[in-house]
């Protein structure tokens, strides 16, 4: 059996002393109280939506006015169905698989 040195004994004694008085403090509404006291920031997300909507409207107007949109629709009509399917389905398919893999690794993703 290993004989403990004086330092080791001191260390053990102090660890035991602190362990005796180590208690978990129950939340008792502390977290929600803090959450209610947190400073609130004004929601500026409407600016992003406004700029987005303005940009989309401008592009749509531009495409219609210059005939690009019509040209694009005509191209879609003559495009082979399989090419169209691949071009539209591949991107969301890859994204879907990536999200599934990630959510399996990260159990808190959907909670």
């Amino acid at each position: 059996m290993k004989v403990m040195t004086k330092n080791e004994k001191t260390e053990e004694k102090l660890k035991e002393f602190f362990k005796t008085y180590k208690t978990e403090i129950p939340d008792n509404g502390f977290s929600s109280k803090v959450m209610h006291q947190l400073p609130t920031e004004k929601d500026h997300s409407w600016i992003v939506w406004l700029i987005g909507a303005a940009g989309t409207s401008f592009l749509l107007f531009f495409y219609i006015h210059t005939g690009i949109l019509l040209n694009f629709i005509e191209n879609l009509m003559i495009m082979h169905f399989d090419t169209l399917l691949i071009s539209t389905a591949v991107f969301p398919l890859i994204c879907g698989i990536a999200i599934l893999v990630w959510s399996k690794n990260e159990k808190t993703f959907f909670t």
Binding site: E11, K22, I25, D27, V34
Partner: protein, 181 residues
Amino acid sequence: MSNRDDLYWITQFTLIGDNKAFEKLIGKYQSPIRRFFLNLTMGDASLSDDLAQETFMKAFVNIHSFQALSNFSTWLYRIAYNVYYDSVRTRKQFIELNVPEVDLYHQTNNAFSAEKIDFYKALQQLKKEEQTALILHYMEDKTQKEIAKIMNCPQGTVKTYLLKGRTKLIDYLNNESYDKK
């Protein structure tokens, strides 16, 4: 729960603004942070809760400056340490009272600490820095390197605080026959 969870919640909060993620961080750290303050204030539960609240508020406001160079826990304790010493400085300016007397008054007035008077009496044998270092090391399981980051001092200084604190505390416990209790 690991530091990975902390980083996930911080990302959720800072990028998406998900307040629930921040609430999870509070839920995880409320007990250690309140216990840390409770021990430093010698059992003043009301003051501890106020200081803990201030700590989480500062964390909320400054979380964008957290760069994950250290654990979130260390970063949070660093804020808590600063909040505590700011409060000590403020109290010193406004109240010229005997601190142990005030501490003992509060100890007897809250349910958490009534049975911990022996513990606080033992801690009162130490200087504030020694108390902090010992509480962080033995109670909160922090390494010397982490304590140095929290207290913003060299690791050698932490070693000195721990050594001096240990010697004083063990002498006190021996005199009080702690083993025989």
